[in-house]
């Protein structure tokens, strides 16, 4: 556990000296800030007709932004160690391969949580603008969903980064994987005769938008996200282990 924390701490601190991390944080917060402003203005216009401002668009677009920005957060995590030769340092230190991978993932998750925490200002503002406030249960659930999406994306990113020694390659591979998971995997469900259920279950988007994102907690969704995290971290550990045998 202590080793995981040592690795995570270094990675977390590293984001604050990396321009990429600042650009990612800025981009996410800018986009969801604009969307928040639109939500407030448009619901002010619609207030006469009974429109109620909702935090859903903010968390929803945040999840969408994660598809594009997580690859930038995870690309260097292991690819850079492979490239710089510091992998040799880590693999000869008294550190389990799994501790290394989990530590890297945890470090990136902490940074994502930091960005998510900053965005928490929007629901707070919205809550103070309207009477009697927003649906706080739904809001908290949506945020929980957001954290799970981020954690799963980051695990996939860490797993993919461990396969490369080039950041750009890791970036694109991760983005393709996330785009498939988020948008494409669910499509066949509408067209195939058999196995539509499987595709429907694999569709990541629906696990967010149709449940946690709209205030519902289902065990199947939690299982889905935790499985994805486990697969990502397991892939990473396996990649580091096989590196020794190459």
């Amino acid at each position: 556990m202590r080793n995981i924390w040592t690795i995570a701490k270094r990675e977390y601190n590293h984001y604050f000296i990396s321009p990429v991390a600042y650009v990612v944080a800025f981009a996410i917060l800018l986009v969801i800030g604009l969307i928040f402003a639109l939500v407030v203005y448009s619901s002010a216009d619609n207030a006469l007709y009974g429109g109620v401002p909702d935090i859903g668009p903010v968390t929803g677009s945040f999840a969408f932004m994660l598809v594009l920005s997580v690859p930038a957060l995870t690309m260097r995590l292991l690819a850079d160690e492979n490239r710089m030769g510091t992998m040799e340092l880590l693999l000869t230190a008294p550190l389990r391969d799994s501790e290394l991978i989990v530590g890297k993932w945890l470090g990136s998750l902490l940074f994502a949580l930091t960005i998510i925490a900053v965005s928490f200002v929007y629901p707070v503002v919205l809550n103070s603008l309207i009477e009697p406030g927003i649906d706080q249960g739904a809001m908290i659930t949506a945020y929980l969903g957001l954290i799970l999406v981020a954690a799963a994306f980051l695990a996939v990113g860490v797993g993919i980064s461990s396969l490369f020694s080039n950041q750009v390659a890791a970036f694109f591979a991760t983005m393709v994987a996330l785009v498939i998971l988020w948008w494409l995997l669910g499509f066949p469900a509408n067209y195939v005769q058999k196995g539509a259920e499987v595709f429907r279950y694999l569709d990541m988007q629906s696990h967010f938008y149709n449940s946690l994102g709209s205030g519902m907690i289902n065990v199947t969704d939690l299982v889905y996200f935790f499985s994805l995290i486990a697969i990502g971290l397991f892939t990473g550990t396996l990649a580091v282990e096989t590196r020794r045998w190459r």
Partner: protein
């Protein structure tokens, strides 16, 4: 303590190590010599549990590198060939990170001590990316020393250092080698001569010689070699010297002087001197040239050279 038994490593179909067997005891500095691609780095990577051997076993600090790799890794300090540093980290943060991975209780204190040991105490707060190659090398060494490891494995530790630092680092290695086990690789032979208690010369994944630097030298020097220099024109001198009794292998050197050798039992020097003077040359210099470790190295690593120990045994038998 390092004990290696019949260690082999294949990279695909290429055999990088071929049945390596050697030992390094506590309180000993062992030098690993060999041309590029001889298997030095491969051996070190196996000993540090970075990768497993194809066959054979290696025991480091009492633990097997394959089955008890975590225990081994706790007890070794390793400076790889490419010094593994995070360019964008501050020196002291980097060492603190390494100390934390080693779970040192007094990490901050040890960071300071290790930096002092390698003479980098004044650079603790600089970025690693801004350091020169020699300084980075020393930070890499500090990282290997930080937990006072039982076994220190250094891949070319003095590369890129300036001469005064080289002396300091060699002294440091020798000092550490008094209590611990140090295995270092180098291709600077004088370094091996100065620092190591024992030298292992490997080529193409096999050990071709193993002994103290001194006895390696004396073992190979079968004959004494002498350089001879005369004033003015040295035409015809080689032919004359060649005729002197006991003189062998006369060679002209590019600077106009001659080199020859004789067997220790029969000192040919007085006769050569006489011959030279009588032939009307001005004898300026006649001095012995010992076989340097460089020459030993070259001799040994030439193709198809049998193991020295083996040939010595054969000599004893015949």
């Amino acid at each position: 303590m390092i004990r290696v038994n019949e260690l082999s490593k294949d990279y695909g179909s290429r055999r990088a190590l071929d049945g390596l067997t050697f030992e390094a005891r506590q309180g000993e500095v062992v030098g690993f010599l060999g041309p590029n691609g001889a298997g030095k780095t491969t051996t070190m990577r196996i000993l540090t549990a970075y990768m497993p051997p194809t066959a054979g076993e290696a025991i480091v600090a009492g633990y097997d590198v394959v089955t008890e790799s975590l225990e081994v890794r706790k007890r070794i300090g390793y400076l790889p060939e490419t010094v593994p540093l995070y360019q964008d980290m501050v020196v002291s943060d980097y060492l603190k990170f390494m100390a934390d991975l080693r779970r040192l209780p007094n990490a901050d204190e040890r960071v300071g001590e290790a930096l002092e040991q390698v003479g980098m105490g004044d650079r603790a707060h600089g970025y690693i990316g801004n350091l020169s190659k020699g300084m980075r090398q020393r930070i890499g060494l500090a990282q290997a020393l930080i937990h006072r490891p039982e076994v220190l494995i250094l891949d070319e530790p003095t590369i890129g250092l300036d001469p005064s630092q080289v002396v300091e680092i060699r002294n440091l290695i020798r000092e550490i080698g008094r209590e611990r086990t140090v295995l270092l690789s180098t291709h600077i032979l004088s370094e091996a001569q100065q620092v190591c208690d024992r030298v292992i010369i490997i080529n193409k994944g096999r050990i071709i010689a193993e002994d103290t630097p001194e006895s390696l030298q004396s073992r190979l020097v079968g004959a004494e070699r002498v350089a001879l220099r005369v004033g003015g024109d040295a035409d015809g001198l080689a032919a004359k010297v060649e005729k002197v009794r006991g003189v062998q292998q006369v060679q002209s050197r590019p600077d106009g002087s001659l080199e020859f050798q004789f067997l220790p039992a029969q000192d040919a020097r007085p006769l050569v001197a006489k011959t030279v003077v009588e032939a009307g040359y001005d004898l300026l210099e006649m001095r012995p040239i010992g076989l340097s470790l460089e020459e030993i190295f070259l001799q040994l690593t030439r193709e198809n050279q049998p193991d020295i120990g083996e040939s010595k045994k054969q000599k004893a038998r015949s």
